[in-house]
Subunit: 138 residues, 2 copies
DNA sequence: CCTTACGTTTACGTAAACGTAAGGTCAGGG
DNA sequence: CCCTGACCTTACGTTTACGTAAACGTAAGG
């Protein structure tokens, strides 16, 4: 390894449409997330330059969306990942937020599991019914 | 048991505001669900009369909302519980719907679990940080 | 130099899920 | 008889999460 060489290479970057395609979003949506404070890409001239960090945040955003959270809710959630250098009062606040969120998720976990049980029972009933009618081919 | 007496007593009913209070909704919201076809209460004059069945459906509606489903999505979901007397093509359709929904829920299950892991790790970090500052009292 | 492609801002449009106000109905009580 | 309370309908307003159109900048290629 050459002396003085940066440990992380030039750091790969992405354009807005690259991100958009990767996550199946529109550029409009990504800019909207920026307006709402979920992303803060660097600028090169007027163009946005996204890094691996933005990629990771977008992954979290998509997960939050699948869980039905609002954009504002996702923003709060993302802030939790930024524990870095907070002061004690801010830390306490983060702790409470995290615990609130955990409680919600645990409820959601129960809901998902129960709904899966229900749906699989329905699936069984339907399959049964179709079998009795001899209509269970393709 | 008197001969000819109905097995189920007079069947308990609810007014719209009773339901609203029980589920922490407004009457407006419950009427809206009716507009969207999620509920179809009997009428007595102009007043809506809700039964135990409506109560059960509302429970499912609330669960769907906690899972982040849209009203239309919840309606489709509720229809799955009405497997009763469907014909074969309808049955096939229901089966597909149920299986699609199951796939979504299984993804959601993974998302919830992963998010819980993340958040609990964050919680641990924060607690640690606070402990090191000797600020872990209240 | 002109077009094409991709980016930008600004701003109005829209669907979903209700909130909220206005006004009407009807049973029970004083 | 009138009032109150709880219900009703109609309809416009509001927030969220983007879509979409207009108008412009800029770098690459023919």
């Amino acid at each position: 390894m050459p002396d003085g060489a940066p440990v992380t290479a030039v750091e790969e970057t992405y354009t807005i449409s690259q991100l958009a395609e990767a996550f199946e979003l529109t550029p409009r949506t990504i800019r909207y997330y920026e307006d709402e404070g979920l992303l803060a890409p660097r600028r090169e001239g007027q163009q946005r330059v996204y890094t691996h960090r933005d990629w990771a945040r977008l992954k979290l955003i998509m997960r939050g969306k699948r869980l039905g959270f609002t954009i504002a809710g996702i923003k709060d959630f993302l802030d939790l990942y930024e524990v870095g250098d907070a002061q004690v009062p801010q830390m306490r606040f983060l702790l409470n937020s995290a615990r609130d969120r955990i409680a919600i998720l645990e409820q959601q976990l129960r809901d998902v599991q129960q709904t899966l049980v229900d749906l699989k029972e329905i699936e069984g009933l339907v399959v049964d019914h179709l079998a009795r009618k001899g209509a269970l081919d393709a």
